[in-house]
């Protein structure tokens, strides 16, 4: 079950890797291209995406103090090591 904004580690895969919905505590990210064919397979994919997005909308609407725009969080600076394989 995909619970939006509940963790940084869930990924909903739809049609394999065609479309991914990646969960995050501050953002949910959609990636890919989904072909929703007029068949059972298309319906299954469309329902999965709809369910996930409905949950996103519900979570945002239920937020008690939704800001106009969330602050960007800067990424941590990467560390540096000597390459031990050279």
């Amino acid at each position: 079950m995909f619970k939006p904004y509940s963790n940084d580690d869930d990924v909903l895969n739809i049609q394999g890797d065609a479309m991914t919905v990646s969960n995050g505590t501050t953002r949910v990210v959609l990636n890919g291209t989904l072909e929703i064919t007029q068949d059972q397979r298309g319906l299954k994919a469309a329902l999965a995406l709809k369910e996930a997005l409905d949950a996103v909308v519900a979570a945002l609407q239920a937020h008690p103090a939704l800001p106009a725009k969330a602050k960007d969080e800067p990424d941590d600076k990467p560390g540096v090591v000597q390459n031990p394989f050279q």
Partner: protein, 249 residues
């Protein structure tokens, strides 16, 4: 002391008994071999249900991930709808594997080596989210170029059926970037070695781990020289082929 020894023996026994059970993911049951001896310390073989990984406790990630693709499996994989979860593989001793915290706010994607989109059942797809099967990958690279390369390899498997693929990171240059408290190494390049026995076809794809749309087709011999990994399962007489490019990439 005795308890410690037992744990060690148990770990070895588990490795020894698990390894033969997954040789079906590599051609002629021959695993890739590390020719750069500096890469061999703290390596561990991890078998999953439809791919296998050689994990490094130095880079805190995979050195290679091997899979065997068939038309049926790719067909099944294309229908998969599933919520998965990245996880730390409990088989790795403390400190050897990357942690979920390492990737958080790192600015890098958790880039699958054996892709989730090639996994043909729920268990296999779930397992592909092991952090032992991912490396810190440039975001745009993972979401655009790499995703197209993965799709193109799937098409090869759909066309010719049995296809063996090994995917992994490369670490070149004097200094490397790391992420997180575990200091997970950020690869400088990523490769795929593709072997299609029915077509007597073998080649490698290499991309820089940056935001780019450029990929290079290399021969397997060139990949072996650049990566420090040899692929004994691929026949020697196929290792100098260089096809023109990948369809659709």
């Amino acid at each position: 002391m005795k308890k410690w020894l037992f744990c060690l023996l148990a770990a070895f026994a588990a490795t020894a008994s698990a390894a033969p059970s997954c040789t079906q993911f590599t051609p002629n049951a021959q695993w890739p071999v590390l020719t750069n001896q500096k890469m061999t310390p703290k390596t561990r073989m991890l078998c999953y249900s439809d791919f296998a990984v050689l994990h490094s406790g130095i880079t805190h990630g995979p050195l290679w991930s091997a899979e065997h693709l068939t038309r049926d499996h790719i067909e099944a994989a294309k229908d998969m709808v599933r919520t998965n979860k990245f996880f730390e593989d409990a088989r790795l001793p403390e400190g050897e594997g990357a942690t979920l915290a390492d990737y958080k706010r790192s600015g890098f994607d958790r880039g699958h080596m054996s892709p989730a989109g090639n996994r043909w059942n729920a268990q296999a797809m779930a397992q592909s989210f092991s952090l032992a099967n991912v490396v810190p990958q440039n975001r745009e690279n993972n979401q655009r170029l790499w995703s197209r390369i993965e799709t193109s390899v799937r098409k090869i498997a759909m066309t010719y059926d049995d296809t063996y693929v090994v995917t992994g990171p490369m670490f070149s240059g004097q200094q490397l970037q790391t992420i997180g408290a575990t200091r997970v190494f950020v690869p400088t390049q990523l490769f795929k070695a593709v072997y299609v026995p029915a077509r007597q076809l073998a080649f490698a794809v290499v991309v820089d781990n940056v935001s780019t749309n450029r990929y290079e087709i290399r021969t397997i011999h060139e990949l072996e020289a650049a990566s420090g990994i040899r692929f004994p399962g691929i026949p020697e007489d196929l290792k100098d082929q260089r096809p023109g490019g990948l369809k659709g990439v």
